[in-house]
Symmetry: C2
Subunit: 159 residues, 2 copies
DNA sequence: GCCTAAAGCTTCAAGCTTGAAATAAAGAGG
DNA sequence: CCTCTTTATTTCAAGCTTGAAGCTTTAGGC
């Protein structure tokens, strides 16, 4: 909880703050646009998309708790999202043979079809939103972003 | 609404998608940490912080509609946030002399004091979260992020 | 078998977010 | 003055998000 830095690092602190504001602005801009398109053009949402994307990587189904672990959201959160996906016939809960507490969330054929359509558009949207960058610049950016992330616990295989 | 790209640009499309996933991961990681600290250490939230930051730049007060314009959130949204800031004595609504429809949101002395404490911590948090990057890397990143943003309507003076 | 602890999931209150609908005041044109 | 449109704001329903509290089931110790 130390609030003061040496004078020599004050400029660097301001630079990092400025970097964070740029990062946030670009990221929320893209995210907002994706949310808007999902809503207006596909009557869906980003949380639904994220859950479906996770389920697509596990055709056999995922336990609710694993799902919330992968997406780094709360347990109660995925309950609601899977509830709504289920209402729309895009996912189902199936019982786990040996454990009556748990259930697996799994995509339905309709859900798979819906997601594949969404995913194709999603890639296109991202591509369009980032087309101001050359391929080389993209790679530079990726490297720097990954370096910035090294600080944190980075032990996930789901990105 | 064209979904197919030439084969030659397919790799670049995947690179941009990968870039977006990295961007999102870093950004939500930092944002999540800031939200958590605001909540756990200061009993506050990021939307409150954002509203206060905007009001701090306008000591005379801001119309609700201007506030929502600056923050790029809906009108109804700021109504609720300013309501809660007001309940906590951090902001007030003051009447606009010539227009009985409008009102200005303005920081209270208590709000100013609260925000200054928050802002100092905020800069420290960001600095700590991004300390894996050299000053030079930060500048490179800032430049690339700004270039990526050039696409979009960039006519704001409030960042 | 019984008791306790842990695991898996849901429910809940509070807050954030949106777009649409409602309310109210200002302004323009007659 | 009256009406119509525009502007400023609030209210609302629906959804997302969290942490905490609760429920059921499982597993371990006795």
């Amino acid at each position: 909880m130390t609030l003061q830095h040496a004078d020599t690092s004050n400029d660097e602190s301001k630079t990092r703050l400025r970097l964070w504001l740029r990062l946030l602005k670009l990221s929320s801009g893209i995210e907002g646009e994706i949310r808007r398109k999902l809503r207006d053009e596909h009557d869906s949402t980003l949380p639904r998309f994220d859950v479906m994307a996770a389920l697509m990587r596990h055709p056999e189904g995922l336990k609710m708790s694993d799902l919330s672990g992968y997406l780094k959201v709360s347990n109660g959160n995925v309950t609601g999202i899977v509830d709504r996906l289920t209402e729309d016939g895009l996912a189902v809960r199936v019982a786990v043979p040996g454990d009556r507490r748990a259930s697996l969330a799994r995509m339905t054929p309709k859900g798979i079809q819906t997601f594949e359509d969404l995913a194709a558009h999603h890639e296109d949207w991202v591509n369009g939103l980032l087309d101001g960058l050359s391929n080389h610049e993209c790679h530079t950016l990726i490297d720097l972003l990954e370096k910035a992330m090294l600080n944190k616990d980075n032990s996930d295989e789901h990105g």
